[in-house]
């Protein structure tokens, strides 16, 4: 079920009413409801893949208990390995099998040996990368004794399949989300109202920004050989906003929806295009995934403890793995590698934590130096996004080559209307950059003004919203 669909418009208020008015006496019954509606939400897309979530939940629930039951490191390791094998096995089969099989056959073919490529005719289950990472963090945290295993199977299953963030994150840690399923949730007006505002802002980002940009981006990438450099550059900029609007929009709707039900999810995007260097960008972009890789890959690999070489090696590993997490294609690997390259100078100069505050904090405008920093960081990310969007590496290279010629100074021949919508987004988010989301208006006391803003955003969605497209991150 899509957040921007008619079905969801019926689904959400119905669940809300059942949750707060009909089943509000018993927390366990509320969890059963959340579990049932989460499975309905997921099964709406393809009910057959519910079996995967149920199996994965069951394995991790059982492994968690088994790890906790013993003090023997060997046995604990064994159960952790089972959990990892099942989760990574699912990912391997459903997401990466065909990729590895084709790559193997191609590499043999380049050496002169012909192998028959064995590929599986399978569909990638929506959200598999998200919920497998979420459940893996659960068993790893139990193994590390940071978390006690859940003894409430309903709460655990509801945690794994919690519908707002099930298919595209944020990838929640069990330490944050699971305890919220044990406690009685109280309705909080401020929290719920702000949740609705966040949903509205998420819809704006998805329907007005991402979907409008997508229409132009699709045309540009399909016909990039015939377009001027300025059109290609603008197309790449539009893709940068498409993916931001799409993914952060989804996260906003997910977080806002959770707040309606009394849950707090982590912030997943903190206005990443207002970053002064690539390190800051990665602290602000897809935070739940970046911190996941930091905690469960980078630090176990030794992190930054073993000197500069170790730091560089580990940085490249997590960026490349992060790229590969996004999709089974070499383009994503190159995208990750490119970001690691961008990161390298900051690492070598020990400047990767230079900007931990908000840009131009307490000021209305940025200075010239900050302007240069913001623009150069943005342009670097735009170049990297070309690899993310292109179908092949050679297509990405050709696209980028096409961006550097004299026609860069000509007027773009593509639809530039999305620039207006992007302008509205940037303006609003600039003024809200210290907040949790673009429409956080808790300090604005005037109700008529608040309502006028909601109505204005709503009208923008209705008037300028493009034809709905599926969320990009579903494919990951």
């Amino acid at each position: 079920m899509l957040f921007n669909s008619f079905e969801y418009l019926i689904f959400l208020p119905t669940v809300f009413i059942l949750y707060w008015f009909v089943l509000n006496k018993n927390i366990r019954v509320q969890n059963v409801l959340l579990l049932a509606v989460s499975y309905l939400f997921y099964g709406w897309w393809d009910y057959r893949f519910l079996a995967l979530i149920i199996f994965s939940s069951f394995v991790d629930y059982y492994c968690g208990l088994a790890i906790n039951k013993t003090t023997s490191t060997n046995i604990r390791k064994k159960w952790l390995t089972i959990s990892m094998l099942v989760n990574l096995g699912f990912l391997g089969v459903f997401k990466y099998f065909n990729f590895f099989s084709k790559s193997l056959s191609e590499s043999f073919s380049s050496m002169g040996y012909e192998l028959d490529t064995l590929t599986l005719d399978i569909i990638l289950p929506v959200g598999i990368s998200f919920y497998t990472f979420q459940t893996m963090s659960y068993t790893i945290d139990i193994y590390r004794e940071k978390l006690s295993p859940s003894k409430d199977i309903i709460a655990f299953f509801a945690f794994v399949s919690f519908f707002p963030q099930l298919v595209a994150g944020p990838i929640e840690r069990a330490t944050n989300l699971l305890p919220q399923f044990y406690k009685k949730r109280e309705f909080n007006y401020e929290k719920a109202a702000d949740g609705l505002r966040q949903i509205l802002w998420g819809l704006f980002k998805k329907i007005v920004i991402a979907d409008n940009c997508a229409q132009v981006v699709n045309q540009v990438f399909e016909n990039y050989t015939d377009l001027s450099a300025s059109s290609l550059l603008l197309g790449a900029v539009f893709f940068a906003f498409q993916i931001y609007g799409d993914f952060s929009g989804y996260s906003d709707i997910a977080i806002g929806t959770s707040r309606l039900f009394g849950f707090n999810l982590m912030q997943n995007f903190a206005f990443p295009y207002f970053s002064r260097d690539i390190a800051e960008f990665w602290r602000r972009w897809h935070i739940s995934l970046s911190t996941w890789f930091r905690d469960y890959v980078y630090i176990p690999l030794g992190g930054s403890r073993g000197g500069m070489l170790m730091k560089i090696k580990n940085t490249f590993i997590i960026f490349i793995v992060s790229g590969f997490w996004h999709g089974a294609n070499w383009t994503f690997v190159v995208w990750g590698f490119l970001n690691a390259l961008y990161f390298l100078p900051l690492l070598l100069l020990n400047k990767n934590r230079n900007h931990t505050n908000v840009v131009a904090e307490g000021k209305l405008m940025i200075n010239f130096k900050e302007f240069l920093q913001l623009s150069s960081t943005f342009l670097l990310t735009v170049l990297a996004w070309v690899f993310f969007r292109a179908a092949t590496i050679s297509e990405a290279f050709n696209y980028i080559m096409g961006m550097f010629n004299l026609s860069l100074f000509s007027f773009p021949s593509i639809d530039i209307k999305p620039l207006i919508y992007i302008g509205v987004l940037v303006l609003v988010e600039w003024f809200q950059r210290t907040k949790q989301h673009g429409l956080e208006l808790t300090t604005l006391k005037s109700m008529p003004l608040r309502w006028s803003i909601y109505t204005f955003i709503f009208c923008l969605i209705l008037i300028f919203g493009a034809q709905s497209q599926s969320f990009i991150y579903f494919q990951f």
Partner: protein
Amino acid sequence: MMKHFIKHSVVFAVGVFLLVFIGLVLPNNNPVRTVDYSLLTKHNLLQQNKQPKVVLTGGSNVIFGFNSQILQDNLNYPVVNHAIHAGYGLKYIMEDVLQFVNKGDVIVLSPEYSHFIGDNYYGKEPLLFSLTVKPSNLKLVSLQQVASVSEFIPQFSFDRIKSFAYNKVKNQLRRTNSEKNYTEFSINKFGDHYTHWDDKSKDLKFYNFNGVVNVAVIEFLNSINSQIKRKGAKFFISFPSLCSSTYKKNKKTIIAIEKKLKKYGDFKILDTPKDHVYEDELFYDTSYHLNGDGVTIRSKKLASELKEQLK
């Protein structure tokens, strides 16, 4: 707290609902109305013609695909071209025409290929246009169709508000609309779109039909066939006209559609997809819309196909 929240949410939702509703019921003040409004004329033609007739229906490949005079001369049956837009969805198109089927009628459907993909046969945004033209047709619309078009309702409503305000200003400035094609006056006495027949062809729009063939559409056509038969009429399917470039691009899907139609369909199919693939030069503006020359060729072809069946 909760009461307060519900009250505010409901007030906001009702406000939005009212705004959308106003857009839906605003009158169309455009001096030249779109071809969707030809539905009323076509209904009149169907109602007035009580004797057995040939009714051509489907998407825009039909309204842009025939010169009914040629068919009428060859078959000695009166002919009505009922088709307007594929976006209404096959379900709506067939249930609309079914209201006017009489004993002895011959119904020839040329569905667009996209009708067989996914849930397209429930209709998309154009269905909303048709319902504003003839609100009483709401009775033909199922819940699945409502769900299928629901995402278009808000924008459709706002477009109508914008158009209403714009035409109000435009009419005051006494501007005239010089549109010739795609209007309610672009159809001849049979219901064919004819005003483009002498026009030069434009840049063609090529299509990609992606997706899985939906067998439910064929089952739906089987039920339509049974209903038509019960009324003492005949039902045939003829493949749509398609330009060769789009055919080449989508050959695999088209063959899959043809195979499934033959395997699951209980109705008579007059031809094969290839029979109605024509050179790109015979098309007007899209892969389905024939120009004057194309219209003549296709009309003669269908006339001979039907003649065989009506012997």
